[in-house]
């Protein structure tokens, strides 16, 4: 099993390179040059610096961020283009240079590719650090936020708790409700309960989460209708009273937590109950269930001991998707409810082109996705002894 896990972890390396490379490409095409932005913020006695001083600051920042280096180990360009464009500090000038070079060269040169290799490049520095200012991602240094100057690691650790609270809490509630619901509906197939719950769950399943969130806010967090809950944030603006216990804090924060929690729970609840119902129905048809009944086991034991255990497999899939979904999927919900979690932070970072944070998010999500898939395979093998680690060809 250890061998299997190591193999899977090694397979993750290409995914990691692809995703972070994509992040770098996006970074490169971003309309705002980070060095220009940082240079524009540098002050000279309270005034933004201009002219010659700005150029110097710009050069310094570009050098510090490694922007005067090529992006990746390999680069493909046309013969007409100069390969040291990165060294030009000003963005407008740089684009002009490139355009001029393409126009001035004989036209055929635009259609001849040149491939060059760079040992020292931005990607390399991002991974391994530059030996002075940063230690590199592989040693856990994601750089600092362009917007606030805080280290990215600090920002992530302060945000991740809210995201985990809602996504794990939501999935926990969903399991808690869906297991009895799905099993009961399957056991009482075609009953009144089964039919109504099927329809309701199907509708819930197709319900867009952001619409439900808006409707809930409109109905229950609206001073004109019902003002039971708070519309945004996760705790009172003035914070908790001094020395409040955990339970008291929870009680105070409850009006803020209920609506988001509903939105985080319902969709996985619907999915889980529906899958569970189908898979319990499948297993109940099997011969060994008939045997169990025939030998006189009480129905209760037949359902929970024999049928449910074998119907568990699909539920594992959901568990594996929790972590990757926690960031990507919560962008919308966290923005609607203004929860200061990772999704909201990602959205803010993308909108303000705070690339170190975006790169960290991309890395984090891809790692979590990979771990989720790995966890899923391991859990599968535990739940179903017929699945072994040696030939898991999917």
């Amino acid at each position: 099993m250890v061998r299997y896990i190591v193999k899977r972890l090694l397979q993750f390396i290409p995914s990691f390179i692809l995703i972070t490379f994509l992040g770098f490409v996006l970074n490169d095409y971003a309309p705002v040059d980070p060095a220009e932005r940082l240079a524009a913020r540098s002050l000279d006695g309270g005034k933004p610096i201009t002219g010659n001083q700005r150029d110097i600051a710009l050069k310094q920042w570009r050098h510090k961020l490694g922007l005067d280096l090529p992006m990746f180990y390999i680069s493909v360009k046309s013969l007409a283009e100069p390969d040291t464009l990165e060294r030009v500090a000003d963005r407008g000038e740089r684009e002009n240079f490139s355009k001029q070079a393409k126009l001035n060269a004989p036209n055929w040169q635009n259609y001849i590719p040149t491939i060059s290799f760079h040992a020292d490049n931005r990607y390399h520095r991002w991974l391994f650090g530059d030996g002075e200012n940063s230690k590199g991602v592989l040693r856990g240094d994601f750089g600092f936020s362009y917007a606030t100057g805080e280290p990215v690691g600090d920002i992530l650790t302060s945000r991740i708790w809210y995201t985990l609270l809602f996504s794990l809490g939501g999935i926990f509630l969903a399991y808690l409700i869906s297991i009895p619901l799905g099993v009961y509906a399957a056991v009482k197939k075609n009953s009144w309960f089964d039919r109504t719950s099927s329809v309701v769950l199907f509708l819930l399943y197709s319900m867009p989460s952001f619409w439900l969130a808006t409707l809930l806010l409109m109905a229950f967090a609206n001073p004109d209708v019902l003002y039971w809950f708070e519309a945004s944030g996760v705790k009172p603006a003035q914070g908790f009273p001094e020395g409040a216990s955990v339970f008291e804090k929870l009680r105070i924060a409850l009006p803020y937590l209920v609506l988001p929690m509903i939105c985080y729970t319902y969709s996985s609840l619907a999915f889980l109950s529906r899958t569970l119902r189908v898979s319990v129905l499948e297993t109940i048809k099997q011969d060994y269930i008939t045997t169990a009944r025939a030998k006189g086991l009480p129905e209760n034991k037949v359902v929970w001991r024999h049928a449910f255990r074998n119907a568990l497999l699909p539920l594992i899939t959901v568990l594996a998707n929790v972590f990757p979904y926690a960031i990507g999927g919560s962008v919308i919900l966290e923005t609607v409810f203004t929860i200061p979690g990772l999704g909201f932070e990602t959205f803010r970072a993308i909108m303000s082109q705070d690339y170190p944070i975006i790169m960290a998010m991309l890395t984090l999500t891809s790692i979590l996705t990979m771990l989720g898939l790995l966890l899923q395979d391991i859990l599968y093998a535990f739940a179903d002894p017929r699945i072994s680690f040696n030939n898991t060809k999917r």
């Binding site: 692809l18 197709s206 619409w211």
Partner: protein, 413 residues
């Protein structure tokens, strides 16, 4: 099902159903068809005074002109066009005013009522819903078109040939690796300005150019591989045939692509290009083909062992003919189900992100209308109706998908 047909019809006929330009109009003795013309302006000469008047077809408020005869579309408003007399969230059953051709404000005549209310600038909600159908369906269908082209091509090849049956000689292998970077250069780098122009013109044009680039990529790779195979492949060491392990490669690529965080990528791409629709289509297209490819591959593994495929091979048919004519039709059904669900999820993602309201979108979408409602809860019609459209569309697509799946289960038994 009926609802889906209605949606498609609405999407196709949107400019005729909801348009602030009349379908047919007689003005100063002359007949025009403003909704159908591609002209920018009409020049009208008054028969009595001989006065010449220029009418800008798009900008003129036709309701203010003294028309002799007119046929209005079903909903005489265009999406996103302000109606300042009814600005600031007028509810569907609220008091609506109308500025008639004499310039007087009167009670809104029934024909011109904003049936589902208005938004902040007095833009008609119903017209927005109808035109929003277009965008939603375009996003859903185009992204799945892209995904299924990739998924079917790769999945079918991997499933049919497996690891060992697609063989080329070592010379060809060398050619393949050599070709990768130049192929990328010619299909994407050289065409980058073309792609950029297409992106700023329309999502559809961009997708077409993207497909063209992908096709070019494949063709260049194939040509160079063949060329190397035919020349270098004659030399002693390079003439040994080797298996390409296409199936293993594809499985690995799928595992890689699965871990790409789609939503983050969409938002990042949309923030850079300011084209949310195109970003959603492209990113969903290039990340969600994996599900389709997996299903097709699994089906193909079964189908290729069936007698009629073996018979087709024995009778000397070419592999391509067997795959497309004989094997694919039998292997495609499970993927169809996944495509239907894929359309639904693409629509959900697009409306969800336009709901965030952070991107500049020229056109009115269901999500952007819902976003307007979120900022003002007293305008309940802006929350309820667009949301209901998204919900109904997704529900009916899900019902269609489930029905298809049940249908196939029956066939398997």
């Amino acid at each position: 099902m009926v609802f889906l047909f209605v949606l498609v019809l609405l999407a196709l006929l949107a400019p005729v159903i909801a348009n602030q330009k009349p379908l047919y109009v007689v003005y100063k003795g002359q007949t025009f068809y403003p909704a159908f013309t591609s002209k920018i302006k009409y020049t009208v000469t008054d028969p009595l005074t001989k006065e010449v008047e220029d009418i800008d077809i798009d900008k003129t408020d036709w309701k203010q002109l003294k028309l002799e005869s007119v046929v209005w579309p079903l909903i005489p408003y265009s999406p996103g066009r302000s109606d300042l007399t009814n600005a600031n969230y007028i509810s569907p059953n609220g008091k609506q005013e109308f500025k008639n051709a004499d310039g007087k404000y009167v009670e809104m005549p029934g024909r011109f009522r904003h049936r589902l209310g208005t938004g902040v600038r007095g833009d008609d909600v119903l017209a927005g819903l109808i035109h929003g159908t277009r965008i939603s369906l375009t996003v859903g269908l185009l992204s799945m078109l892209l995904a299924s082209l990739l998924g079917i091509a790769l999945g079918a090849t991997a499933g049919y040939f497996g690891d060992n049956y697609l063989r080329i000689n070592r010379g060809g292998m060398v050619g393949f690796y050599v070709s990768l970077l130049p192929a990328w250069f010619y299909s994407f780098y050289v065409r980058s300005s073309v792609l950029g122009d297409a992106l700023s013109s329309s999502a559809l044009a961009f997708i077409l150019h993207l497909l063209l680039s992908l096709l070019l990529l494949v063709i260049i790779i194939l040509i160079i591989t063949k060329l190397f195979g035919a020349t270098l492949g004659r030399l002693p060491f390079f003439n040994k045939p080797t298996a390409t392990h296409f199936d293993s490669w594809l499985t690995r690529i799928i595992e890689t692509v699965i871990s790409i965080p789609g939503i983050i990528l969409i938002i990042a791409l949309a923030a850079i290009t300011q084209e949310l629709t195109a970003a959603v289509i492209v990113v969903i297209g290039i990340t969600s083909w994996t599900g389709i490819a997996r299903l097709i591959r699994a089906e193909m593994l079964k189908v290729r062992e069936l007698d009629y495929i073996i018979a087709a091979k024995a009778s000397g048919l070419k592999n391509a003919a067997i795959i497309f004519k004989h094997a694919l039709p039998n292997a495609i059904q499970p993927a169809l189900v996944s495509m239907v669900f894929g359309v639904a999820s693409a629509i959900l993602i697009e409306s969800g992100l336009s709901f965030l309201g952070a991107f500049q979108i020229d056109s009115v979408t269901w999500g952007s209308m819902l976003a307007e409602g979120r900022s003002n809860f007293s305008a309940w019609w802006l929350v309820v109706f667009p949301g209901l459209m998204i919900f109904l569309t997704v529900t009916s697509l899900n019902i269609l998908g489930e029905a298809l799946r049940d249908e196939m289960d029956v066939r398997e038994n």
